[in-house]
């Protein structure tokens, strides 16, 4: 087991007081806090190594290039990918999904094809497919969710067909924390000749991930939810699929050659090697280096330990929340089938009221629809409050959270 009290010493922000109360940060599903190791790495990069990467011969550029490439390798190792050729750095999960939608979907999806999307998806795994379907005419079909928020695998297996070209699914729901069996989804998809794109925004920071074992085709995730800086994330893709795909955006860095042909009076272009083919323009170099440090930090803790700690906190928090008469928790009550996310409401108060009340006591949670409106409609909710945990949260913080929830019930 990891020691959250020792971990907390690495997070300067956790020493802050908010409204004269110690900060309790339970909004980790939105973004995580950053350890001083990541903050120092960013500072050190700009103070000592900053330069543009690739195609320069000077020392600083060599150092920056080496660090940036190492960052890809570190992220590849973290999810057991075959190498940095399978890791494209992007702004975050949303950009990663859009990259797949446009670079793979645009040339491969046509009228009569089907794209299956689960109803528990974050809007970022719904909207790109809906936009693209208007351009090429394919059909988007939605996979049902059971009453407890789990995926209806039977419905999925009944609706998939040879028309299905790609299945879009999150590994962990950002609303309920439910863990989906994406290995099963990928196996069924492959049996029908379809690919899978997995939204790993809520899973990669919290669970041990082995893309070879899961056998998914694409995995998208964000650095800022896993102790890294904002504006950096990664898209894993199987090398053979990446090789067949055309670039997402055009510009510098992603080309090998742009040559003007005097006869045709056009430029002929050859693409750069993977992963640079998908990284047009000057990338977020420092973000990548910061993400590398975040990954190192998590690897040192051990992802099995991260998972066990969050599972313990979730189970404890859900048990204690049941002491509150007016608190209703949504989704499965078995902590072992979910990550550290608890959606709830307090009878008689709106989710925003609950969040503002908790904020008054220094407790940060999220309220609203969490970019998962279809799932809220299934649960017949106008909005929900969401507490989400990470490595630095403690049982004492949960106890304080429960105390304040009990106060809200009295209002």
């Amino acid at each position: 087991m990891l020691d959250p009290y020792k971990i907390r010493e690495d997070f300067p922000i956790l020493k802050r007081k908010i409204n004269n109360n110690p900060l309790i940060y339970f909004d980790n599903a939105a973004t995580s806090q950053k350890p001083k190791q990541v903050i120092d790495t960013i500072k050190n990069f700009y103070e000592n190594h900053n330069a543009n990467v690739h195609r320069a011969v000077h020392t600083l550029s060599q150092e920056a290039s080496e660090l940036y490439e190492k960052a890809h390798e570190e992220v590849a190792n973290f999810i057991n990918a075959n190498g940095m050729e399978e890791i494209v750095f992007v702004r975050g999960t949303t950009e990663a999904i859009n990259l797949v939608a446009y670079a793979w979907g645009l040339p491969n999806l046509k009228k009569g094809d089907e794209v299956l999307v689960s109803l528990m998806e974050h809007h970022s795994n719904i909207v790109p497919w809906e936009i693209l379907s208007k351009l090429t005419g394919f059909n988007v079909k939605y996979i049902e969710v059971n009453a407890d928020g789990t995926l209806n695998y039977k419905a999925f297996e009944n609706m998939i067909s040879n028309k299905t070209k790609i299945v879009c699914i999150s590994q962990v729901s950002n609303f309920s924390g439910v863990i989906n069996d994406v290995k099963r989804v990928a196996r069924v998809a492959h049996e029908h000749g379809a690919l899978t794109i997995v939204d790993g925004a809520q899973s990669v920071p919290h669970l041990p991930i082995n893309v070879k074992d899961l056998d998914v085709d694409f995995l998208a995730f964000s650095g800022h939810k896993m102790l890294g800086p904002t504006g950096i994330g990664a898209l894993y893709g199987k090398r053979e699929i990446f090789e067949e795909m055309s670039p997402f955006q055009g510009g510098g860095e992603m080309i090998r050659e742009v040559s003007f042909n005097q006869v045709t009076e056009r430029c002929s272009i050859t693409w750069n090697d993977l992963p640079w083919k998908f990284e047009a323009g000057t990338p977020n170099i420092c973000g990548g280096v910061g993400l590398m440090e975040a990954v190192k930090y998590l690897r040192k803790l051990g992802m099995e330990n991260v998972k066990a700690h969050e599972c313990m906190l979730t189970e404890y928090a859900m048990r204690r929340m049941q002491e509150c008469q007016k608190v209703k928790i949504y989704g499965p009550t078995d902590a072992s089938v979910k990550c550290g996310i608890i959606p709830f409401n307090v009878e008689g108060s709106s989710s925003h009221d609950v969040a503002l009340f908790l904020d008054n006591y220094g407790i940060m949670i999220r309220s609203g629809l969490h970019c998962a409106q279809p799932l809220h409609e299934i649960f017949k909710l106008e909005s929900s409050a969401r507490a989400s945990f990470y490595i630095y949260n403690t049982r004492e913080e949960v106890d304080r959270f429960i105390e304040v929830l009990k106060e809200i019930e009295q209002v």
Partner: protein, 89 residues
């Protein structure tokens, strides 16, 4: 000329069907702003003198001592701005 922007840092319109408005008052003026509002609005309920259920011209809202307020059941942002103008100016 004093404007509501002198007191209000940000207005968040919540997503979904509820369409609540959360008003975040300027941090350095929050005590002054809270006092101003408490002077004009009717206090329906006070919780530990840090959270207040208030009504003002048939609009009910909740005000937090931390300098935030949540307004419900308003038609749109312009109605909110009118209420804020009456409360603050």
């Amino acid at each position: 000329m004093v404007a509501i922007e002198d007191y209000v840092a940000r207005i968040e319109e919540t997503c979904g069907k509820e369409k609540d408005f959360i008003v975040i008052f300027k941090y350095d003026k929050k005590e002054q702003t809270v006092a101003k509002i408490l002077k004009k609005a009717k206090i329906e309920k006070s919780i530990s003198a840090i959270i207040f259920e208030l009504t003002f011209k048939n609009v009910s809202f909740r005000l937090y001592g931390t300098g935030k307020a949540i307004f419900r059941n308003l038609k749109d942002k312009s109605e909110l701005q009118n209420v804020l103008a009456d409360l603050l100016l």
